[in-house]
Subunit: 413 residues, 2 copies
């Protein structure tokens, strides 16, 4: 137990310090004082190399700042909240392409003109997370109204009718469900229902539906988590059907662990740990160079995505959260061991002690391939969420262990 306490204590200090460094990076380099919102296309040293504003990343950074402000004494700083509010106002003013329609852009110009729209629900999901978290911090109801209205729209797209998203279904297009959709929706259910009994109850059935859908992605007699399945829960033909993303499956794992905890379902928890944590970890970890592969093919064919063997920051962030949470929920020491292995790889390869924040993209061998700290898909989110959640879980684990025992005097040789 003392060995365990020591491990937890060391990591708590490391993640806490790193969280401070990472937040400092974004506070120093990303705030757009002129238009509100965040400049997230940042080079290694924080230099802005593009002024485009990706809506996912705007919403995520608003969420992250509010979450830090709300959850950590040391981040209860006006600077953070002001930047989050300015980001929220930017989203309110500009995210929707043709208000009052709810569809949000994927990317905006610095001053808020829409550049591109995606035919998916994700911009809207991060918009909802941002608004809900702003409400939780400020108590201003217009934020929550925005969140609830957008959530209704998202649920409508997913469960009732997605035709106004503009996705084209042709006679050969398979009716596929991407793992990301029920995952994202389950995460929203968790977000909106947090410390809110009325909303927990309102979304209980939706949460069950999402969990059921996610669990269907375990295929091949429990031997593989597949990213895309048919609408009736079967494997799809070809590369699309065999496509795997180990870090994404592991992320789904911790979303599901939260769900199982809420349900008090221990059998489900064991299933999740088995199928969404251990299975993708053992198949997705590179035995030669360490780190999680980005993509794999369930039959072992070479994936067709050029970046398949790269090591990306976010799967490693998600794995740190998932294994620590799994350990915290189950007490299984294997999970702490894997957390330790993933966290060591991650801290060793992705951190940039010189300029702060983490690199996002390594080649298979673990060498930095892209020096950017932020880009179209990397902002102030995965790293800081991972560090913040790990700090909180580690703190709770240490609390559970009780105070450090006073060494008995004179007893040891």
């Amino acid at each position: 137990m003392e060995k365990e306490r020591e491990t937890l204590q060391i990591w708590k200090e490391r993640v806490g310090q790193e969280l401070d460094n990472v937040v400092a990076f974004w506070m120093e380099h990303s705030h757009d004082q002129e238009h509100g919102g965040f400049l997230t296309c940042l080079g290694r040293n924080g230099q802005v190399y593009d002024h485009l504003k990706y809506v996912w990343l705007q919403g995520r950074q608003v969420w992250m700042y509010c979450h830090l402000y709300r959850s950590f004494e040391r981040f209860r700083r006006a600077e953070l909240l002001d930047a989050a509010k300015a980001g929220g106002e930017f989203l309110l003013r500009h995210a929707r392409v043709a208000p009052p329609a709810k569809k949000c852009a994927f990317v905006l110009t610095r001053d808020g003109h829409p550049v591109k729209v995606q035919r998916t629900i994700f911009s809207e999901c991060f918009y909802t997370m941002a608004m809900n978290e702003l409400w939780k911090v400020t108590g201003e109801t217009h934020y929550q109204n925005e969140a609830m209205e957008m959530m209704d729209q998202i649920v409508h797209w997913v469960q009732v009718d997605s035709s106004d998203l503009g996705q084209t279904r042709l006679s050969g297009t398979p009716a596929a469900e991407a793992l990301a959709v029920p995952m994202m929706l389950l995460h929203l259910v968790e977000q909106l229902g947090e410390e809110d009994k009325a909303l927990t109850s309102k979304y209980a059935e939706l949460g069950d539906w999402c969990a059921h859908r996610i669990l269907q992605h375990v295929q091949r007699d429990g031997k593989a988590v597949l990213e895309n399945i048919s609408e009736d829960g079967k494997e799809l033909p070809g590369c699309l059907g065999r496509h795997q993303n180990p870090g994404h499956a592991i992320e789904a794992g911790w979303f599901l662990l939260q769900y199982a905890r809420r349900k008090g379902d221990i059998k489900l928890r064991m299933h999740i740990i088995d199928k969404f944590l251990l299975l993708p970890f053992y198949s997705g970890w590179d035995p030669e160079h360490g780190g999680l592969f980005y993509f794999q093919d369930a039959d072992g064919f070479c994936p067709t995505q050029l970046e398949w063997d790269m090591k990306l920051w976010w799967p490693h962030c998600e794995a740190m959260i998932a294994f620590l949470m799994g350990y915290s929920d189950s007490g299984d020491p294997t999970l702490l061991k894997i957390f330790n292995q993933v966290a060591e790889y991650t801290f060793c390869h992705f951190r940039d002690p010189e300029f702060g924040e983490w690199f996002g993209y390594l080649n298979r061998e673990g060498k930095v391939a892209l020096t950017i700290k932020g880009g179209p898909f990397k902002g102030c989110f995965h790293v800081s969420r991972c560090l913040a959640m790990c700090e909180q879980i580690l703190e709770a684990l240490l609390r559970r262990l009780g105070p450090t025992p006073v060494p008995s005097l004179g007893g040891s040789k």
Copy 2:
């Protein structure tokens, strides 16, 4: 001169043999005897790992087979022509999503149902190339009618009105011209006008327009070829504007060299060699590991594309063609030296002596990253076109040098 003759002779033999191997690979593994057309998702040893049919690759393989049949005595084989015709018929039956509308799918199921459509002109361009080449080989006019009608549609989309392609222009979307569009169109002008005075004359003005548009992509006082520029020929802001693809610029180079030759414009030829061959080669060649980078940023920022530093087969194929053609047209020995450098790297790193065809995707260090021989963007096209064109250019160069001189007897020590 004897050194030069030797270089040319050696390469002529190497590319000729390699062309035989490469064509044999596709003939053995890719023909779909059941539905016609080609299975191009092939693993290292030719095993089919997906049955999807990408329309670009269907059109390209039809074109390639016809071109080989028409241009090389040793490829005048019924097998090749039959497969090309079966591919052509497959395209005629299935490529268009909603006939009589001209829009073609991007990818089809094995039996020809449309899976995805791209909001671009490229499926239609390769369709046109296939049909025109089928006509050239068979003399059957319905192929040429198809080609001409599709060409009219493409020109309409590019020069008159692209609205029915379905591209969404939002208030922040920059009006950008991608280098690929005038390039592809110039290439079609060359294809349709080849040995056809009436069509050469019909498309002369269009060819001038394309060349002018391509030349506008030389920006920054002649110091950079940029992939995307504004519609009025200026640099665009941000990453989009700074985006460079050295292999693509070099490919544009040989398209333009053909144009300059047709025009008899020697000054233009010098400009092309300078800006579209040497400039992208010197900036795009990796000084550390050799090979052409896939993407670069004109200001030296790190590109945001994960694959930016990978070495892809096709830029190297295009560079082999361009430098050999540039040498053939100008006689500048620097260009032969660069051809030699590129071809050595290419033959050494991309060839697969064990199973035939070439690997397509190497990491920065030149190690094979994807073992596939064919996939969504790699089929029977760039490698065989490169080898076939190089063989023809080398043959012509050797012919120009005249017969190998008989060594003078007793004259040398």
